[in-house]
Symmetry: C2
Subunit: 192 residues, 2 copies
């Protein structure tokens, strides 16, 4: 199983935002929608061996985590609005401390990054990390930030984690996921 | 200069589509919007050395070509709707045989793939091509298709072009552009 977690620092935690304004009213939810697209889509297929966690930290709070499970996913199309609609539906459900399914393969719970990091091992993708192409083996889980840098509090949580970099330039989260999955694909298929 | 050209087989050629339905009313314009995002966006920066041609072949016709020029671009945000709005504005202009600017860095003209291929050299990205990581040098221009395969007529036009592949799996056009630019970034910055 491959796991990605993306922190949405301003991302809405209620399903009241407009699908016509994902960057504004939904707190840059467009960034998270593109990350979902990169995590799952192949040409005419989905990556069934991926799970993607969106840690939403915006208004009205408290934090929620939305989970997409590739092996169960339905109703996801590649456009941003499609992922946005599934997130909006999940956030519209009454939500407790345990994951609850909203549509096939999409789950929601209350919970922040600290809780998620206690449950799964994630390496951190940042420009200062080791080049993924030179890693003897690649971690299966990766944590990324949205358009904002990690906060001081988050940095303290991830201080001891492995750090990897996908290239010399600083990329958007979705592009980083795409490059990383390409490296994993190559290793799995014996492309050196 | 790096050049990308993406053929939108069903993509609208008039600016009458709804930004709320880029996949449907605009003929999978969402695919082209994501390709524009991948071609230009870095974290907090734009790739100024890229030009991106969208060859639109859908209704009502005839074919039009929309050109995004990185060194001149303004008003482009990463979300699909932003690129869609710039394309819609370009397609709403009266349009002749020569490129005409609609917003800074965005141009439109009547014209099909055959004309574009006569003007610039494009390698073809497809799964049967040579691995980009093993190419002694990389071409600067690349042609990609949207969610449909190239037509027989297009295949005849590109039969003699160089073919490159970015990995073992078949990817969406935007993901292919992202992987390719990562390889170019690495070569330019001495990352082996």
């Amino acid at each position: 199983m491959k796991r990605f977690a993306i922190v949405g620092h301003l991302a809405a935690t209620a399903g009241t935002f407009s699908l016509n304004d994902l960057p504004g009213s939904a707190g840059r939810m467009d960034v998270l929608c593109r990350a979902v697209n990169s995590a799952f889509f192949l040409s005419h297929d989905l990556r069934r061996d991926v799970e993607c966690y969106l840690v939403l930290c915006g208004k009205p709070g408290p934090e929620k985590t939305v989970l997409f499970v590739g092996s169960e996913l339905r109703y996801l199309s590649p456009d941003e609005r499609s992922a946005g609609a599934l997130i909006k539906k999940a956030l519209s459900l009454p939500c407790g401390d345990e994951f609850r399914e909203s549509t096939p393969g999409v789950y929601v719970r209350r919970g922040d990054l600290a809780r998620l990091l206690a449950e799964h091992d994630f390496a951190v993708l940042d420009e200062e990390g080791d080049d993924i192409r030179h890693a003897a083996s690649l971690p299966t889980g990766y944590l990324l930030s949205d358009h904002h840098n990690f906060t001081e509090e988050e940095i303290a949580l991830i201080a001891e984690r492995q750090r990897h970099s996908v290239g010399p330039l600083s990329l958007h989260a979705d592009h980083t996921i795409t490059v990383l999955l390409n490296e994993m694909d190559r290793r799995e298929h014996g492309w050196s």
